[in-house]
């Protein structure tokens, strides 16, 4: 028989809905609006600007490209070193603290890279505790000894790696768990020891997953602004900033953004390709609960060090110092102004989170009920912004908004003799729009996943039991979606709170947030004062990590799923 009944029935109900429905139309419109910044940036590539390219090529571009490549290479290697070995150890072995470390290894995700950079600079620069202690015990004075310079390419690589390795850890851990124990046991019976099994079977099997993790790390590396800016490294993001605000050349900034986007698109393609490869690396459908090997003595100690070191470097040390400095400075920093700051940040993040979740709900339902190639790709395009650096999105928002403002102003002056000035640029509307472009994907993915758990048969069951669609939504959909909606709100909330470059560019004049304040303190060399806003960001950032670690503990095969 050519098709099964179910697919026939399904495709029919889809085809019947292909006719243009207002919902589908609104969905396509929303997604086009949200992709406007990306279209503007991509479009700037097509605008002939020979002289701008010539200029960029002769001056800064080679440096940006070389620096970004070195940064990517360094961070890639270091996150692989920091992330893969712990993933293997916590999956396959048991040693004192392994259960704790299994989720503690995720903690650095809570710390934005720029905050780690500020903290380590405070720790390691000439007046910091390490060098002071060194001078105290040796009797040397400043300048008489060599000490590694933290504000350097090497420093930036280390900072980014300390907080980005969890991506590699998380994904390679999932890959190791997903590997059929059979493949590993076969290797053992064929005479491979544990080390040989790891290098010859487990690691090659996990390679596509590790590449996926690395591409995510590299996208974050390219998107980073705070760290490279603070360390004075001429990379793409800092270059875009300087071209726009230093040189006032918005066209060149857009061109640079487009080039950076090209880098990102290549990474997205590699990620997509690796995810496809992953399918072929499933060795068997039989999954037994992994039997973990108990480590004792020296091997246990080495395992603890290998797994504990990243947690120390990426979380305990910076957070420890942040707490210490925050205790020292909170009296002078935490004042009326600081509460306004807190309020600004939280209100902004809550608004963005609610808006993104409502928008995601609207799009996910649109996709569910009016699914066709057009609505599907509209939804997919709306989720693309997450991979694009905040700096690029900010430029992509600024250009059309500024054009719109000028056009409106011009029209009003021509016809009504009134100047409207800036209506959109430099307002919270522009900032909110940028947040939607960047973070809608987070909400969309979560809501969509929640919605797919409500099978079409459940809708049918509800209706056959006499429920109207609206009752069904209230009594079945909402209770089942509640968790996903809260998660979506939470994730977007934290992402917005941590976001730096887009906020920096698009915020209204004198509108400050925690992230901006930390950035400003740090750039005024008031690193200890930066501790309070930084610590607030980190503490709030821990929330989604706890959520992640919970889903990690139930993701083991054989572990019963509970609602």
């Amino acid at each position: 028989m050519p098709t099964s009944v179910d697919t026939a029935a399904l495709s029919s109900s889809l085809n019947r809905r292909i006719g243009i429905h207002p919902w589908a139309l609104a969905l396509v419109f929303a997604s086009l609006t949200l992709s406007l910044p990306l279209i503007v940036i991509a479009g700037s590539f097509l605008i002939p600007a020979q002289d701008i390219w010539q200029h960029l090529l002769h001056t800064v571009l080679p440096e940006y490209i070389v620096n970004s490549l070195i940064l990517m290479l360094g961070v890639g290697v270091m996150t692989a070193l920091l992330g893969i070995a712990p993933a293997w150890l916590v999956t396959m072995c048991r040693f004192p603290g392994s259960r704790l470390l299994e989720w503690a290894l995720l903690l650095p995700l809570a710390v934005p890279a720029y905050i780690v950079a500020y903290t380590y600079t405070g720790i390691l620069d000439a007046s910091g505790p390490v060098q002071s202690w060194l001078r105290a015990i040796t009797g040397w004075s400043y300048g008489e000894y060599w000490f590694p310079e933290i504000r350097s390419m090497g420093g930036a690589i280390a900072m980014l790696s300390f907080v980005l390795y969890p991506y590699v850890y998380l994904i390679s851990r999932a890959a190791f768990i997903g590997q059929s124990i059979c493949a590993l046991e076969v290797a053992r019976t064929l005479g491979c020891g544990p080390y040989k099994t790891f290098f010859r079977v487990a690691l090659p099997l996990a390679r596509p997953a590790i590449i996926v993790g690395l591409t995510l790390v590299l996208m974050e590396t390219l998107a980073d602004y705070g760290t490279v800016q603070y360390f004075g490294i001429a990379a793409f993001t800092t270059g875009i900033f300087r071209t726009w605000f230093g040189l006032g050349n918005s066209a060149a900034a857009a061109q640079l953004s487009a080039l950076l986007m090209l880098f990102i698109i290549i990474l997205i393609y590699i990620e997509y390709w690796s995810r496809k490869q992953q399918r072929y690396h499933h060795t068997s459908t039989r999954y037994d609960a992994l039997s973990q090997e108990k480590l004792k003595g020296w091997s246990a100690a080495i395992a603890i060090i290998v797994c504990g070191l990243p947690v120390f470097l990426g979380f305990l040390i910076p957070v420890g110092f942040l707490i210490k400095w925050a205790l020292l400075t909170y009296e002078s920093v935490v004042d009326q102004q600081f509460y306004i700051l807190m309020w600004n940040s939280i209100a902004l993040a809550v608004c963005a989170a609610l808006m993104a979740t409502v928008l995601a709900l609207f799009m996910a339902y649109g996709k569910r009920h009016y699914s066709n190639p057009i609505t599907n790709s509209a939804v997919n395009i709306s989720g693309m912004g997450y991979a694009i650096p905040g700096t690029v999105i900010a430029v992509g928002v600024m250009l059309p908004f500024a054009w719109l403002d000028q056009t409106i102003d011009h029209l009003f002056r021509t016809y009504f003799d009134i100047s409207t000035g800036l209506l959109l640029s430099g307002t919270l509307i522009a900032l909110m729009f940028a947040y939607m472009v960047r973070f809608l994907a987070v909400a969309l993915k979560t809501v969509d996943a929640g919605l797919t758990k409500i099978k079409p048969a459940m809708d049918d069951a509800g209706r056959s039991l006499g429920m109207k669609m609206i009752t069904l939504m209230r009594r079945v959909h909402m209770p089942m979606l509640r968790g996903s909606l809260l998660t979506a709100i939470l994730l977007v909330f934290v992402d917005v709170l941590k976001e730096l470059p887009a906020t920096l560019i698009l915020r209204p004049f004198n509108f400050n947030t925690l992230a901006i304040k930390a950035y400003e303190f740090a750039n005024e060399e008031r690193l200890a004062d930066a501790a309070c806003p930084a610590l607030a960001i980190v503490l709030i950032g821990i929330i989604p990590v706890i959520y992640l670690s919970r889903s990690i503990s139930i993701s083991r095969p054989g572990h019963e799923y509970s609602t």
Binding site: V5, N15, K455, A457, S464, L465, G466, S562
Partner: protein
């Protein structure tokens, strides 16, 4: 007896392609009907049309004397007072077993509601997991709860879409029997969709064989097996082979196994080439028979062997033989025809699934 469900000349099309073609049947109150057919034949679409999820291109659906579907008008699913059980139970995961069952009892309140729930719990024997969530139940338990939810408000008609397909093989027939008992005790009219004939026979009073969107026969299981009206039904239901033959009189067909006597359908002229349906129980093993066939293969089925035999002409037939007659492969054994129901189709016209 009253008519519970009537389909009048129903056709359903997707993209101008007819997937259901002019199907009519009547189901009496309290009866259990089954739509039986291979996957892709349209049986689930037909069920969804009865439920009101799909609209017919032509024809009418009547439930208890009320027209609920025709070309122009559809009574919404939620107003039809039907119950439906799905392939994967489709229980609401955020509600306990009790809450799931109570979900279908919106109109009932207080004592009445409690009594109905208690009644169902006893009927379905689900008291021990009444307060558990669906994911804690086995597949069979989930389906029992789904049945409870569907019949709680005493629907006018119950629709079951392959309700046992996702269950273990051993569990299916047992549950099918259980479900039949529950429905009979509660006096519920039901339509079941299945591709498994044993399941259909275990549950249904009347079975419709569907192929390629057409209802080929709407009849009792006994008649489907012994008096199939098309070669497709003969082939699809039960085991058997076709033997070539020639009509030699009004009551006789000449085959290589001898002359078979029985009632022939009218219109077959003398000398017409025909094919005769031979079921495994139509060929009886008899050591004294002069007629022999070679054992080609055999399958042990406990009480019986199912022998695949090769006749002198090379035609293969099946024979069900008590299992103490254990003959090795390649040995010729004596056989005898014992046909109660002569089933004959003209040889030229190919009635099979085309």
């Amino acid at each position: 007896m009253n008519t519970a469900l009537e389909l009048k000349n129903i056709s359903v099309a997707f993209d101008q392609r007819k997937v259901i073609n002019a199907i009519s049947f009547v189901l009496n109150e309290g009866d259990i009907g089954c739509l039986l057919g291979p996957s892709g034949c349209g049986k689930t679409t037909l069920l969804r049309t009865i439920a009101g999820f799909e609209a017919p291109l032509e024809g009418e659906v009547w439930i208890r004397g009320v027209r609920v579907s025709d070309r122009k008008y559809l009574v919404p699913v939620e107003q039809r007072q039907i119950g439906m059980v799905f392939q994967d139970s489709a229980l609401f995961p955020h509600m306990t077993v009790r809450e799931n069952i109570a979900f279908g009892l919106q109109q009932m309140h207080g004592r009445q509601k409690e009594e109905r729930i208690t009644e169902l719990v006893d009927l379905l024997e689900i008291s021990e997991f009444l307060h558990k969530y669906p994911h804690r139940l086995s597949g069979g338990q989930q389906q029992r709860v789904a049945l409870g939810r569907a019949i709680a408000s005493r629907p006018r008609i119950l629709l079951l879409d392959e309700p046992f397909a996702s269950l273990d093989f051993e569990l299916r027939e047992q549950l099918a029997q259980e479900v039949r008992n529950v429905l009979k005790q509660d006096g519920i009219t039901a339509v079941l969709v299945s591709h498994n004939q044993l399941e259909a026979f275990a549950m249904a009073d009347i079975v419709g064989v569907i192929n390629d969107g057409r209802l080929l026969q709407w009849d009792t299981a006994f008649n489907l097996y012994h008096r199939p009206v098309t070669a497709y039904v003969a082939d699809f239901v039960g085991e058997g082979v076709f033997l070539s033959g020639k009509v030699i009189s009004d009551k006789e067909v000449q085959t290589e196994l001898g002359t078979i006597t029985g009632t022939l359908s009218l219109g077959l002229e003398h000398g017409t080439s025909v094919k005769v349906l031979i079921r495994p129980d139509d060929i009886v093993h008899d050591d004294n028979s002069a007629l022999t066939a070679n054992v080609l293969d055999k399958a042990f089925r406990g009480a019986e062997f199912l022998y695949t035999l090769m006749l002198a002409s090379g035609t293969k037939v099946l024979s069900l033989v008590p299992s103490h007659h254990n003959h090795p492969v390649n040995e010729p054994i004596g056989i005898r025809l014992e046909i109660d129901h002569l089933v004959v189709f003209p040889a030229r016209i190919d009635h099979s699934c085309r």
